[in-house]
Point group: C2
Chain length 182, copies 2
């Protein structure tokens, strides 16, 4: 479809802040009508989120992690995932995060999709994977500043529970939508 | 459930950057085991997203908007929504964004849930509403720097299409999960 009347072009950008995990830019852009505006844009590494499913006698169960989130300052029960390492392929990152956070290895990883976690202000993407044929490993292998519990959750509980604590992570809800539409 | 072994406490925080739309903080926090770490946290206004549904002879249709996103630098076809104004109630914001972006008024708005768009680094929340009994108004009432097209999309197309362009906005997928689980 013809959408050129919606497309902006970037004129230039200036870095205004940088930390270990992100950088903030002022981007000067030209509107479809030729007007100029300045927009705040946050650059950060891509993320990956994994929907791990095990088959049990009571039906499928999601393998999820409960952890403290420093931005929202609350506990969240969510799908495992994290930040891709420099140069890391998204599938390798999905396998790594699943192993580190849940101590399970996936026999099969399938792409569910790629989205922008926050396209209004963030430039990065989040890659979603479906993980099956899970094999338990020896134990979690967490980063030094990670503390989390892995738990099995029935899909119906998550579907009904999303949007209320502890199911408060919007990207877990996005992953659930991709899982339901797969 | 007992989760005190997961909970961090904030010791202090320092503002390191501020723009018109967000502020960035270095927050020094104490881990459950008593270790100290510094985390980047972004404060910004709360957001609202609306899932507007009209009934047609071909079944229900979502009313969605196609617009340019400056963070991801791409077009996105997504549910209407935006930033709450200072002091604005989330339901009032949902009604306002729906009217401004789609030129439709909702006869009924129902809460779908509240989540953290990005709880690892952002402190804000996003409120989701389901909008029914839509009445068309005179025309869009967009912000000066907004350019967008409103379109009707069958739910099945969105469910199958999420995670591929133009369905790349993760918060639209999160809203879809809440709609499907309502």
């Amino acid at each position: 479809m013809e959408a050129s009347h919606l497309i902006w072009t970037e004129i230039d950008k200036k870095e205004v802040y940088r930390s270990r995990v992100l950088s903030v830019w002022d981007a000067r852009c030209r509107s479809p009508e030729g007007k100029t505006g300045v927009f705040t844009i946050i650059d950060s590494s891509d993320w990956v989120i994994v929907v791990p499913v095990i088959k049990t006698r009571r039906g499928p169960q999601f393998l999820m992690v409960r952890q403290w989130r420093h931005g929202s300052r609350e506990l969240s029960l969510e799908f495992p995932g994290g930040v891709l390492e420099k140069g890391e392929d998204s599938e390798a990152g999905a396998a790594r995060e699943l192993e580190e956070e849940t101590a399970h290895r996936a026999g099969r990883l399938t792409v569910l999709g790629t989205m922008s976690p926050n396209p209004a202000i963030m430039s990065n993407r989040v890659h979603f994977y479906y993980a099956e044929d899970l094999v338990p490993l020896e134990g979690q292998n967490l980063d030094e500043d990670e503390f989390l519990d892995a738990e099995f959750i029935p899909p119906g509980e998550l579907i009904r529970g999303m949007g209320k604590p502890p199911y408060v992570h919007a990207l877990t809800a996005a992953a659930l939508a991709l899982y339901l539409g797969r």
